[in-house]
Assembly symmetry: D3
Homo-oligomer: 225 residues x 6
Amino acid sequence: MNILAIGAHPDDIELSCGGTLAKYAKQGHKVFTATTTNGNIGSAVLPMEEIAKIRKEEARRAAAIIGAEYLCLDYDDEMLYDDRSVRVNMINLIRYCQPDLIITHSPDDYNPDHELTSKIVTPNKPCDKIPLLAYFESASGVGFIPTEYVDITDVWEVKKAMCNCHQSQIAWMSANYKETVGDSNFLDDVEVSARYRGIQCGVKYAEGFRMAYNAHRIVPYRVLP
Amino acid sequence: MNILAIGAHPDDIELSCGGTLAKYAKQGHKVFTATTTNGNIGSAVLPMEEIAKIRKEEARRAAAIIGAEYLCLDYDDEMLYDDRSVRVNMINLIRYCQPDLIITHSPDDYNPDHELTSKIVTPNKPCDKIPLLAYFESASGVGFIPTEYVDITDVWEVKKAMCNCHQSQIAWMSANYKETVGDSNFLDDVEVSARYRGIQCGVKYAEGFRMAYNAHRIVPYRVLP
Amino acid sequence: MNILAIGAHPDDIELSCGGTLAKYAKQGHKVFTATTTNGNIGSAVLPMEEIAKIRKEEARRAAAIIGAEYLCLDYDDEMLYDDRSVRVNMINLIRYCQPDLIITHSPDDYNPDHELTSKIVTPNKPCDKIPLLAYFESASGVGFIPTEYVDITDVWEVKKAMCNCHQSQIAWMSANYKETVGDSNFLDDVEVSARYRGIQCGVKYAEGFRMAYNAHRIVPYRVLP
Amino acid sequence: MNILAIGAHPDDIELSCGGTLAKYAKQGHKVFTATTTNGNIGSAVLPMEEIAKIRKEEARRAAAIIGAEYLCLDYDDEMLYDDRSVRVNMINLIRYCQPDLIITHSPDDYNPDHELTSKIVTPNKPCDKIPLLAYFESASGVGFIPTEYVDITDVWEVKKAMCNCHQSQIAWMSANYKETVGDSNFLDDVEVSARYRGIQCGVKYAEGFRMAYNAHRIVPYRVLP
Amino acid sequence: MNILAIGAHPDDIELSCGGTLAKYAKQGHKVFTATTTNGNIGSAVLPMEEIAKIRKEEARRAAAIIGAEYLCLDYDDEMLYDDRSVRVNMINLIRYCQPDLIITHSPDDYNPDHELTSKIVTPNKPCDKIPLLAYFESASGVGFIPTEYVDITDVWEVKKAMCNCHQSQIAWMSANYKETVGDSNFLDDVEVSARYRGIQCGVKYAEGFRMAYNAHRIVPYRVLP
Amino acid sequence: MNILAIGAHPDDIELSCGGTLAKYAKQGHKVFTATTTNGNIGSAVLPMEEIAKIRKEEARRAAAIIGAEYLCLDYDDEMLYDDRSVRVNMINLIRYCQPDLIITHSPDDYNPDHELTSKIVTPNKPCDKIPLLAYFESASGVGFIPTEYVDITDVWEVKKAMCNCHQSQIAWMSANYKETVGDSNFLDDVEVSARYRGIQCGVKYAEGFRMAYNAHRIVPYRVLP
């Protein structure tokens, strides 16, 4: 199969479904990762062009770990809104990847870029294959009740490596949350979440998803690895 | 009463509430059908202008069966996004129809055109009468729990005839779903859905709806026929 | 695997998950069907003992079609309430069947027998294997949003034959619903429901389920056939 | 029609659907009110037999205002649990009243007596007519989203008179809530709730309900007055 | 703390959280009120510029009562849609106010201006402090289940005075609703709602809220006054 | 305040709200812990009387760590059903503890003992003080969306010590889950859950709760520590 994971910002995908993508890749499926924005707000000191370049390179390297191709629609961070340009670019992205499955944000996520990304992946017929659709959860999992779990125990180190590529974001997150959470280590949090979902489904590490309807259709078999 | 049914694409209305509209028309109410887009993506071979023309003519003929007037905002299929133009056109549409009741997509539908259509029908005061609001379900009914049902048994043949006007869409749908569903006949599916909702409310054929708040108001009597 | 389907009344299982059980049986799994009551209210003319005997025989024959064993806790119809007896009998039933998976009513079903049956299948540790748990939907599917579907197209005739064993209930249902639904044929309704769930998942006939937590656990792979 | 309103305690019905019952009675329908318990906990000073007698008399007088018949299953207050006795008595009550519609507590109410009362009104076939089913909301309306409203403006004084019959409960409630709510007048609260639901549906006073499935059936027309 | 209440239209804030803002102000917190639109549709007779000017002045005076600063993004009423301009202006507004807490519409409100306002207040990092987030309910409270209540009994007269500043809107609302609700006094409705929420939490007057996640975070202590 | 935590089985309380209880105790509140059953199923080798004695002693010692009093209704494990005895014993328990707040299972928990325990703590007036009510989540947190969080970072070691008292249950759980989860350490899972809820509310360790209505009432201030 062709798998297309679409997030709003570089690092969304790795945090939320990096293990599942690693598993797909390991099984021989073709994996694409894409972001609608280039994450150019993710620095308090660097110029926007520079941090965008860094973050896209980090996303490219994370994708490379599992042999995936990274694509970026290059919209400005926190500035993704619905217009003809984003619709056309999304359709073209889907046509390029010819996905059997799209994995993206949940449409009731809290961030406007996340939410719009989720909503525009479902034109009625973007390409010959109408892709299936799964929603991943946000980094902290708030308000998300998974209906399917993927056991990522055997690819846990790969997921960690993928997340670890996002050094600029890790630095930024650590700085932001220092006051409230103290010396929270961002990657520790990713591990806690994977362990938590693992407890719920009886394995060491897991990721949670909801299968979604696309063009009225869900399928009577398991699509997730 | 004046009834305005608004769908995103030609055929959405007939599939989802054609029977209810037929019943309203039979009772002497004035019915308008409208689509925000012209459905110009609905062909794999025809130029966009040509398929748009065909689909609008199909919608016009479906409306004519029940003596309804068809109106089209003529936006490009899969390209309906929120901006001043669509807001103004929607307000003007509502002003033209002076509806007592608007029937449209549910706001948590899976397609971005459907969703936006649903959301922009509720400006605070589009015209002197603030219309009531009902949501119809999508063609496959996924994730929709009706709170009201309309018995369409006596207008079932009329609904079928209205759906049957959409020959170009029937051909397109059949082609798309051939691989997965085999020789699925699109109109058979419409009948199964109407029968299913009928079973739930104790009649032969039915359509399901949710009454929605508009300008904070629902009414303490039945509006649906 | 050992599969245990538990319904409150004879015919609940066949209507709601007969196809899925047929599929499991066909794949070589050991299938048990059980009812908590003997359905002894299901006649307007026969003595309770007699109709109970008839209905259990019908359930036994339906099970026999797929080589399943039928078991009955033999409580009075509409008189299943929570007490030590029903808890002990349920644990003993589970111990006898040693199920890997239990399939039963949804806990928010409308009938008190259905609801209690659903709730008491989850003692913390009924036997060495803690069974997984799936909920089937009620006959009319009201208020149920499936998260998993089973394609029963290839066993559709088997499901029909299983349902057809319940002649006494078919007669009773037809009599009850005559006034409201007219000449509704009970088995036609079963077919409409299977076709409706089929449309939602892209096949001819399907059954819908929700996987449920039992002893905190769901699994990261598909259990349904 | 025959209408049967069943509450757990004397005063539940008058508070939650007294206006609707008054309206039914005014329209010539036959109304029954019933309680599963006799409210014998509702006093801090009187012996249980005595307060039970008082409360039943209050309920009888409230019913008499609208020409309704009051029936009591006479279980002890806060001691209604599920067993054969309560199931049999409920079936007999329904048989006596031959209701076309039962109105009762919502099954997710916070009080165990309320909840059980709600759940046991739905045996599969209590009598020849399978009654329709509506849920009223609790006195404070918490967690309840009505799908239907009844305009009780023209019977508001009747509802107030019905509630006013429950003097022993009004005294008890006032005493209980004195510390937290101060000099809260119980009947004032009833008026606020009716006004609040009225605002939501555009009238002066209203009551809110959810239509529920009974024996899989809801109807495609309005049953509430 | 710095508190920023953002509504779509002048008067939304006062109706929904005026009491809570008054309480914050009384406790010495710095309060900002803001609207994304200028409410320039809110008159059937005045030119848009004129009614906008009036409504902003009314909002300014309402804010002044509690010593709050009023800010307006000045978009046209019923014409707030998502684009770069509104995103940039929202970020600048947040930067100006440096809020510890933002209070705004619920994202599933019925009006498109309300909904967009709610959704765009959550960019990932609008300023150094990532604000907490609370949702207020719409004027009629439909479909809203509060998880936190604020006792506004001691500031009730202040809230009334704030609402009373919106004379142009009161006149407009009264005119609109005359046909359905008769001589409904708009401020009476505000009092009924506050009393209703008060009943639910055991005080005379209250306002209801839901705490929301912003940048994955809610806090383990009470933020509301 | 007097705090009463009621679980179905010894260890439910410590796992789910041990930290919160520790915090209450530290603040000088009087804490009671209680279980409706004695956990006498929790061993594959010991006689029921013996394991019951052990588990009650473990619960007593866990309570003692925070100076709490442990009470047991002594029903058989997996055999708690609704009858007069359990209702009376619950009322007596509440009268003995005179709680300002009861913390218990969520009513939609998966285990029948948990669920019944949750439902019977809300008689209309068990004692002079009508207690407030909070629901804790199950050990694996499935299907639970907290609306309030308690920061238990400063009492984390106390919670661990309380959980650690339940050696018999830890052994039993480890044995049960060995096949599926491998060498899962039960206390590790408790830590993962506390860390996960901590991430969601910005602290190191947290517990999640939902405040519930009891006798129609929630309060407009924070009750949790």
